[in-house]
Every structure is written in structure tokens, then in C-alpha cells.
Symmetry: C2
Subunit: 423 residues, 2 copies
């Protein structure tokens, strides 16, 4: 049992009942305010605990942290301290926030300096992403795409149940929640045309994904086993892999998606530790055919975490368009990481690895407009009476995620992003 996860814990900080951030969560992020330059913080209720301030006042003295470890524009150096240290920091923060701990609670000045209203803060990219990999690990999604673009009889390609298929994405264009995305321009080839035309994508889509952040580096030539994998994962966030289906469709054979994806990906700003989501571990689906030995694993490695997608038209109210779950992964994170490194590929702290679109078996659990509108053949009804097949300019996409157990809700906050017209 991780002490900081104990459902009995209560904080002296007020935490609204539906909050994503009770004392059992304590995710890490980077924020700034009108007065404070970028630094590390932890979410608690509707507030941010300023770790830069707490460290400067000696609240982490017993942990012997390096000087200025929180006073940086990213969490990379903090994460690189290793899981033993970052776990101790989370445990110490839990201790400081517990309702019967007076250290911070009864120090009026320190308390007021250390707690910052989320409304007054701007969240920034939590990590500097070195390399970004996107997997394709939800069976329903791979099946749906196979049906839509190939043949329902052979929807899954021959390698899909042997390999956690993945590909490299663009790290530079990963942005934090709240960033707007211009509708990309590019080459489109209408089905009835001989040659491509140039224009704005007409088939703008989101992809509902989770991503994990690497917490421990390896050297070139080293591999990570499924057993070791969790030690290399710091935490997770929600990931919206924006996609321009028409650009993607024309470009992706034979070397994979490129400009159809790399104009932007959006993440939720709080990195929820693997420790914090431990209560939601469940078994995945059984894997048949049997996987190769390096992909075998013990224990429950999937997570029961609900995932929701809303679309808010310009000036309107949001409509829920998808309700999926992280548990619908055929390949789990440990298998993904073991596969990624089995050839000796090195990984670095801050690298991000996304799940691929997470679709459940029911139509309302599909994780992209491509699937929800079945390639534009079905309209998705919005609460304002309008319809969508793909995203329109002005549409804001809002994703969130949460697990609930023993009355405790561990959430991820939101990742939002709005489609602006092409530049």
C-alpha cells in the first residue's frame, strides 16, 4: 500500500467533492502566474501547491533535494531524480496536506504563499519531450480503421496481435491544454481525382489517447523487460492526437502518418503518477495468439480509467460525444515499453509514449470522429441541434479522465483545444 493513496486521508485544504485532485492524487505540473516565473506545482482541489516556495522554506529539508530542482521550466530534472525520490516527495506533500498536520496548516504566511488558486495560474508544458512515440494498441480502434479503410473480413493486419504497433511522432508540436490549433493545409486527393489538390483539411479529427512519461533513461543497446517497465514510467496524462484524415489518407503509404498528425498534439497539464493510479489496475483482455516471451507479463497491467470527449461549438454548450476507458487497451504500457526497447532503442526522461486512439466495443465508446461518424456516413447530433461528421472551425474539443474507487476520484483534469481557421 502506498501511504499517500490511503482513501482515509483527508486534507485541511478544501477539496470539492467532484474534484479530480483529492489528497490521494497529487499530480505534478509546471505553472506560472502574474508574479511567479515557471516552476513545479502539485494540484490539490482547486489550488496549486507551489513546490518552489515550499522547498525554499525548508519543507523538503529531510529529502536532500538538489538546489533549484522545482525552480525550472520543466519537470525533467525532478523526474530524473528517480522513483524513490519522487515518491518520497509525493509522500511528504501528502503528509503536509493531511488535515491533522499543522506544519503548513497553521503557518498562515507559508500557507497563503504556498497555495495558489488555479484560476490565477497558467499551466505550461510539464515536460520537455525528447522523443514522442504513438502506439496503436486499442483493438477496437484498429478493427474499426481496418473496416473503414480495408475489409471487415481482414480488418486487423497480420502483425497486429504479435506486435504493439507503434511509430514515431513529432515532439516539437506537442502543446499543453488550452492551446489553439489552426486547421492544417496540405495535399488532399479527392477520391474521384487523378491528382491531389492543395487546401485546408476537410476531415479534422481528434484522437482520444493516454500518454505516459518516461521517468528513467536507458543507454543505447539496453532493453527493458515488462517487469522493469513500471520503474521507467513516471506518470500519465491525457493526449489528444489531432488528425487531418484527408492529409493522412493520401500521404501515409508506405512510411506512415506525417503531416496528417504533426501539426499539433495536446496534453493535459498534470502528470498523474503511476503510484496514484495504482488502485485502478485491472486485468486486460486475454491475448490470443500467445505473445512472444519478451511481451509476457505478470499481474494486472491495465487501468480502469474512464475517458470522456466533449465538443463545444463556438459560443455554445458542450456535447459529450464519446465515453471510453483506458482499460480497452489490448497492449499495456509495460508491453509497449518492452517492445520499444527490445532492439536496444534508448529512451530518455521526458519522452512521451501515447496509447493510440482508445475505442471501446460500443459505438459511443469510439475515440475519434472517424469512428463515431463511421467515416462521415453518420451524423453526430450535438445538443444545440447541429450535427458533426468531423470538426468545424471554432469547435473546442475537451477530454477528461478519472478513476473512482473507495469513494475516491483520481482525475486528470482536462485537455482542451480549439480548431481555428487555416492561417
Amino acid at each position: 500500500m502506498i501511504k499517500a493513496n490511503d482513501p482515509i486521508l483527508k486534507s485541511w485544504v478544501e477539496v470539492p467533492s467532484n474534484s479530480d485532485f483529492p489528497i490521494q492524487n497529487l499530480p505534478f505540473g509546471i505553472f506560472k502566474t502574474q508574479y511567479l516565473s515557471p516552476g513545479a506545482g502539485v494540484a490539490i482541489g482547486n489550488q496549486i501547491l507551489d513546490l518552489v516556495y515550499l522547498n525554499s522554506k525548508g519543507f523538503f529539508k529531510s529529502l536532500n533535494l538538489p538546489d533549484g530542482i522545482f525552480n525550472q521550466g520543466t519537470l525533467n530534472s525532478f523526474i530524473a531524480l528517480g522513483k524513490e525520490k519522487t515518491r518520497a516527495v509525493r509522500e511528504r506533500i501528502s503528509e503536509l496536506l493531511q488535515h491533522d498536520n499543522s506544519e503548513l496548516r497553521d503557518n498562515k504566511i507559508a500557507r497563503e504563499m504556498a497555495l495558489i488558486s488555479m484560476e490565477e495560474a497558467e499551466m505550461l508544458m510539464p515536460v520537455k519531450v525528447g522523443d514522442y512515440t504513438d502506439f496503436y494498441s486499442s483493438e477496437q480502434h484498429a478493427y474499426n480503421v481496418g473496416c473503414l479503410f480495408r475489409d471487415p473480413e481482414n480488418a486487423l493486419l497480420p502483425n497486429w496481435k504479435h506486435i504493439p504497433v507503434g511509430y514515431h511522432g513529432r515532439a516539437s508540436s506537442i502543446v499543453v491544454s488550452g492551446s489553439n490549433i489552426h486547421r492544417p493545409k496540405g495535399q488532399l486527393k479527392p477520391a474521384d481525382a487523378e491528382i491531389p489538390v492543395f487546401g485546408s483539411s476537410k476531415l479534422m479529427d481528434f484522437e482520444l489517447e493516454m500518454a505516459f512519461v518516461i521517468g528513467k533513461s536507458t543507454e543505447l543497446g539496453e532493453s527493458i523487460t515488462t517487469e522493469e517497465a513500471e520503474d521507467h514510467i513516471f506518470g500519465v496524462c491525457i493526449f489528444n492526437d489531432w488528425s487531418a484524415r484527408d492529409i493522412q489518407g493520401w500521404e501515409y503509404v508506405p512510411l506512415g502518418p506525417f503531416l496528417g498528425k504533426n501539426f499539433g498534439s495536446s496534453i493535459s497539464p498534470w502528470i498523474v503518477t503511476l503510484d496514484a493510479i495504482k488502485p485502478f489496475k485491472i486485468a486486460g483482455t486475454s491475448q490470443v495468439p500467445k505473445v512472444l516471451p519478451y511481451l509476457e507479463f505478470d499481474g494486472d497491467r491495465n487501468y480502469d480509467i474512464d475517458l470522456e470527449v466533449y465538443i463545444r461549438p463556438e459560443g455554445g454548450e458542450s456535447t459529450k460525444v464519446s465515453h471510453s476507458n483506458f482499460k480497452y487497451m489490448y497492449w499495456n504500457m509495460c508491453q509497449q515499453l518492452a517492445h520499444h526497447t527490445v532492439n536496444g532503442c534508448n529512451i530518455n526522461v521526458g519522452d512521451m509514449m501515447a496509447s493510440g486512439t482508445i475505442s471501446g466495443p460500443k459505438p459511443h465508446e469510439y475515440g475519434s470522429m472517424l469512428e463515431l461518424s463511421w467515416k462521415g456516413t453518420k451524423a453526430i447530433k450535438m445538443d444545440d441541434g447541429s450535427e458533426r461528421k468531423f470538426l468545424q472551425d471554432g469547435d473546442e474539443v475537451i477530454m477528461n479522465g478519472y478513476g473512482v474507487k473507495n469513494g475516491i476520484r483520481i482525475g486528470f483534469g482536462e485537455v482542451t483545444g480549439k480548431i481555428l481557421p487555416s492561417k
Copy 2:
């Protein structure tokens, strides 16, 4: 005319007649020695000009460079100064090295401190690569691969002459010349097997490529025109995109190459500026069908640069196995960069973009073992009497490149790497 390129220039530093590094080249790199920590240097003959030392002694005073600009582990900050500044530095170095310039020549102590024998130095990665993209821009290579894996009648896919096809690669595993590469392990599916097996790659290959280094960043949402592209390119190096053909073959449909490539890529350590290779500009092949307007360009944008590949078996002598040329690119670097950013994808200083395998029309001009051995159906004879279809453990692959004009040879040095047995 760029002054530093003038073929009439001679240096007071001795430059052997076949050197890659006459005074007209002056490429930038990062080196260290037993006594010096990593810093920037410039190649001249068989020596390295120590820019850290020269700057500390005021030789660049007139240029107002930021403190410590050369005293870093990568060239990124230097490159980020912009082309006007980096060009002025190259011109100043040229001036200092000219035979009739006494400033450094006649300052015995400074001269001895500033010039370091290449034999005493270790070259390091010249840049921190943020994102790495690999294109697929040689027509002969794309045609060969199409013949080998598909059908000679339809060797080029429908998008190939419309799009400079590219995909994202792994930045973390790009290593500098001299790094050894362990033969990767992974999933292989023998043609006659139903399911894959796990093992060491049997089809190890090199790919002869050039890569360019981004010299000027853009913001997300911005695009670069073909006319602006050269201003965003700092320089070029030779790039060996190691490939495990059996791993690649089983994994790459539908999302592209992944573990078949990301176990390592090797680069030559000197970044040769775009200015230095300007004399080798030539016209590319005519592009039919006509490209979309954003891919149109003016002037000569290809480069006549010879490229050679040698294989040196363990303990033996090297055999030349390929002699290609950078001119055999269908899509030039300006088109590649315009395409990469047409959707608003942002680029950063230090990003690396490789050409894809460069194969010429004649069989000895093919840039990979896959093509040279025609998928293992032809043996390549080595000078020691042995044969190769793919690379063996202990084989060292050596690539070099050079242009010659007006009696001046502008070279890239070598990129070498040896295949070690699987770990």
C-alpha cells in the same frame, strides 16, 4: 560570392592535398581532448581550430558574440544566433587562417593553443537533435524498393511524385561517427512461417543519406516557402540510417518503420555549412508531373557531391561497395522543408532531416545492401575474397562525401560504425 569560398585562398595551416578540410570549407563540430572539455571547433587540414580558446583571447571581439557561446556541449546556441552571425564567424575564421594574415600565425602561443591535432581529439555529437525526420527522396531508391517488395510495373506509389514522402524517426539514437552498433533483436517473420519468431536481425543494412541541420526555428502554425528554406538550414552532414530489413519488413504496415530503424543512426561529426557547399549547386531532374505551387522553386537546388560507402571486415581492408551522389535527389532540401511545414508543423534549431537513401541509376550507385545485393539475390564481392549480401558482425561501414570544383575539394570527413554482435 561568399568571400570564405574563394578558391584562391590559402592558409598558413598545412592542408594535405586530398584533405576534406581546406580553408574554403571550415565546418563546425564539437570536440574534446584529454585536457579540454567539450566545445566548438572548426576543421582545417588535419587540425581543429579551438573556437573556445580563440573567443577567450578576443579573436572574435568585433562580432560581439554572447559569452560562452562556443563553450558548450552542442552547437545549438551558436547556430541559433542566426545565419548572418554564423556566416560572419566563418568569414572571420577564414580571415584568421589566410596565409597573409599574421594575427594568429605569428602569435606562437595562441597558435599552438588554438590548433589541436585531430588525432588528439574525440569528436562528439555536434548538435542536440530535437526532432529527426527521414525523407524518401531518391527516385532510384524508391523505384528499387518498389520493385523488390511490390511490382516493377507499379514500383513508385501514386503519391511519390506529388509528395516528398517522409516520416518521423527517433532522435535519441542518433550517434556520432565511431559509435558501434549492436545488431538488434526483434520479431522476424520468415516467409514460410505462420507466426513470427524472436531473434537477432539477419538482414542488417546501411542506408547512405545526407542530413541537414535546422538553423532557424519556427512557431507552430508557421510555414516556410521553398524560397525561405535555405535561410532555415545551417548545414549538412552524412547520415547512415542503419536498418534491420527483416524487423522492418514485418512491422512497417501500416504505420511505417519503427524498430527496424530506431536502434541507431550515425552521422559524420562536422556540419558543413550551406555556404561551403554553394559551389556545388546544380539543377535537379525535371519534375513531371508538375508539382503543386508550394513545392515549386527557382534556381539550382541540388548539389553535386560524391558519396562513397566502404565495408571493412573485422581486421581486414575496406572494399568500396557504393559510389553515389547527392545530386540524385528527386526532391531537394528546400522542397522537403516547405512540405514539412506547410501544415504548420514547427521546427527547432538542431532538428535533423535526412534525405532517405540516395541511389543513382547505375547498380554501383545504389545506397543500401538491400539494393546492391538485390534483396540478397546477388553477392557483393569484397577485396579479401569474401562475399556479402547483408552486413556481418564485425563489419565496419565507412561513408564519406566530397565535392570538387576549381581544384578545391570540400569534404565531409567520414561517418563510421561497426556492427557488434547482439547483446
